[in-house]
């Protein structure tokens, strides 16, 4: 069990700023990657790893740990930076993102990176994996919880709804889906490409307890994680309204920053902005 739980909002904000700066530096260094969905997910991931998850970075395979599955694997820079800051591996590894031989692959690879629960990158698969982890936990009488983060565009995948149906059917109250509802995918706004709206109603219809929050308000995020844990007899979906590219003004809500690395000048600008907070 990890000693240091942090529920102090200003500290969490400070941590998130550090993670966002890592993301910009990593992507600029790598020359490719996905800033938009990393930045939209940062606060949700930071709140989880600093304020909620029962985990131990020194023992990433500890059997009773809570599990976090990043189903939207392209958002991994946010997760890598958080894992490094949390002590799963040296922060210096972040400089190797996407390079040959790196432990930090372009998309999460559980065999290379301590703290990664399952490899991902092909969208739509993570919630199903989470269902398996939750079923195993129940079978073994363990109290660990499973968190799965999905993109809103990702929920266009049919498999997500197969998994949602299974979690609802099996009344898996030890699983929590976090939907990073930033409103954008690659080719444009989700409402123009293939709208999954109304998102909360869909999850409700599949037997989930639904909480809609501002995914950049740490108090709301922590409250939602707690409410999910207290909810019995059904899984919980947290629909987190977020801003794609959050924290870097020229990236915010711009679809072209989905999968493009900042050049050195852009990175400089982004870092200066994040520094000011």
């Amino acid at each position: 069990m990890l000693q240091s739980f942090c529920r102090d909002i200003s500290e969490l904000k400070m941590r998130a700023r550090i993670i966002r700066k890592h993301i910009i530096r990593m992507l600029a260094k790598a020359g490719s990657g996905h800033p938009g969905g990393s930045l939209s997910a940062t606060d949700l991931i930071v709140a989880l790893y600093y304020g909620k998850l029962n985990h131990d970075p020194r023992k990433p395979n500890w059997q009773d740990r809570d599990r976090f599955v990043l189903s939207k694997g392209h958002g991994c820079p946010a997760l890598y930076a958080t894992l490094a800051e949390r002590g799963y591996f040296p922060v210096s590894e972040l400089d190797t993102l996407r390079q040959f031989g790196s432990m930090l692959q372009g998309h999460p690879d559980m065999k290379r990176t301590p703290g990664i629960e399952i490899s991902s990158g092909s969208l739509g698969q993570g919630l199903s994996v989470g269902v398996g982890m939750a079923l195993a936990g129940r079978l073994d009488g363990k109290s660990y919880r499973v968190y799965v983060m999905l993109g809103d565009g990702e929920t266009e995948e049919g498999q997500v709804w197969e998994a949602a149906m299974a979690a609802g059917h099996y009344k898996l109250d030890n699983i929590c889906a976090i939907i990073d509802n930033n409103g954008l995918q690659i080719d444009g706004p989700i409402k123009d490409i293939l709208s999954p709206e109304p998102i909360p109603n869909k999850w409700r219809a599949f037997g989930w307890h639904v909480i809609v929050i501002n995914g950049h308000d740490f108090q709301q995020i922590l409250n939602a994680y707690d409410e999910a844990e207290e909810t019995k007899g059904m899984p919980t979906a947290i629909i987190a309204r977020t801003v794609k590219g959050k924290g870097v003004s020229f990236m915010e809500n711009h679809v072209e920053w989905h999968g493009k690395a900042p050049n050195p000048v852009e990175a400089e600008k982004a870092l200066a902005e994040l520094e000011k907070g």
Binding site: Q63, Q125, G132, A136
Partner: protein, 321 residues
């Protein structure tokens, strides 16, 4: 007449035994548990059985999740849905992560019969064999199926086992040695080697006895593991008999024949003939009728042997000239 039992039936029985021995065994099915015979396990071990409904992609990844937590999931449905619908889940999650998932699917090949082409997987060896590190197995009878299921449960990593719907004759014995990746020489012979898998092994043996009467001594290899394939036994057979016929209930592209040819082309080029489905889909019909139609019978193997021996002789003569 030899006794006939479907390999899927042997699977259901083996699972019951395994479930008793190892409480980490869990079973998932996609609304076909009566057909795959996992229903027996579900009755005996209801808490360790998960019916995932008609949702194969989700089932495959749920199994992956269970495996990350130390379970040994056996995932069953028809071959076409297990490795067809959920191929990318097997590739990107189960196998890329080296998870201890056993995909044991039934209703392979045209021997499915009446259900017709939509249910007859004839490409599954090719598409599973193509996935790096995935082990691919097709037992030839009920006795060997039990061994394969046990061996898979003892092996740490992903395995695909391809089973059949229709009863097939028992041609192996419980005491015969079985090892994943090790082909089995069922019959010795000097003139030609027939390398077969699954239901075609019985036909290969029948073909060999027909050929015996003609004075052609055919060796028969049961190549139950398609990947990793036993190179040594193949090279030895090619060197000793100088002619090879492969036989499988699968399309010719990417199956057993392709695997054998790729090895021999490099290691010991040898005249070959191939028994398998030639660029066609299956259809409804009785298995025996379909085997005739798609040229998968013992007589088809005999014809192929005559063909390959003709080429072997021609080659020897041309060397002498």
């Amino acid at each position: 007449m030899t006794e006939k039992i479907a390999t899927r039936v042997a699977y259901g029985k083996a699972l019951l035994e395994l479930g008793e021995k190892n409480t980490n065994i869990v079973v998932l099915d996609a609304d076909l548990s009566k057909s795959t015979t996992t229903a027996e396990f579900s009755k005996k071990f209801p808490t360790r059985f998960f019916n995932m409904g008609v949702a194969e992609a989700n089932m495959m990844n749920t199994a992956a999740g269970l495996a990350t937590c130390g379970k040994i999931p056996f995932v069953s449905t028809f071959c076409i849905f297990a490795v067809g619908r959920a191929w990318e889940q097997i590739r990107n999650t189960v196998t890329y992560c080296s998870l201890n998932v056993k995909i044991v699917a039934t209703h392979s090949g045209v021997a499915v019969g009446g259900d017709g082409s939509s249910h007859q997987a004839i490409e599954d060896i090719a598409i599973t064999r193509a996935i790096p590190t995935l082990t691919v197995i097709e037992p030839c009878d009920a006795v060997e199926t039990r061994k394969a299921v046990f061996a898979a449960s003892e092996y740490n990593g992903p395995v695909y086992i391809r089973l059949g719907r229709a009863p097939v004759p028992i041609i192996t014995k419980p005491e015969d040695e079985y090892k994943i990746g090790r082909g089995i020489l069922l019959k010795k012979g000097d003139d030609v080697t027939i390398v077969a898998c699954g239901a075609l092994v019985a036909n290969a043996l029948d073909a060999a006895s027909i050929l015996d009467n003609e004075g052609i001594k055919a060796a028969v290899i049961n190549m139950h593991t398609l990947k990793p394939i036993d190179k040594e036994i193949l090279i030895k057979a090619a060197k000793e008999t100088g002619a090879i016929v492969t036989a499988e209930q699968h399309v010719l592209d990417g199956g057993l024949g392709s695997a054998v040819a790729a090895i021999l082309a490099r290691e010991h080029p040898t005249p070959m003939e191939f028994i398998g489905i030639d660029n066609r889909f299956g259809q409804s019909g009785e298995p025996e009728v379909l085997f005739k139609h798609y040229h998968l019978t013992a007589q088809d193997i005999v014809n192929a042997v005559r063909q390959v021996i003709k080429r072997k002789v021609q080659q020897l003569q041309s060397l002498r000239v």
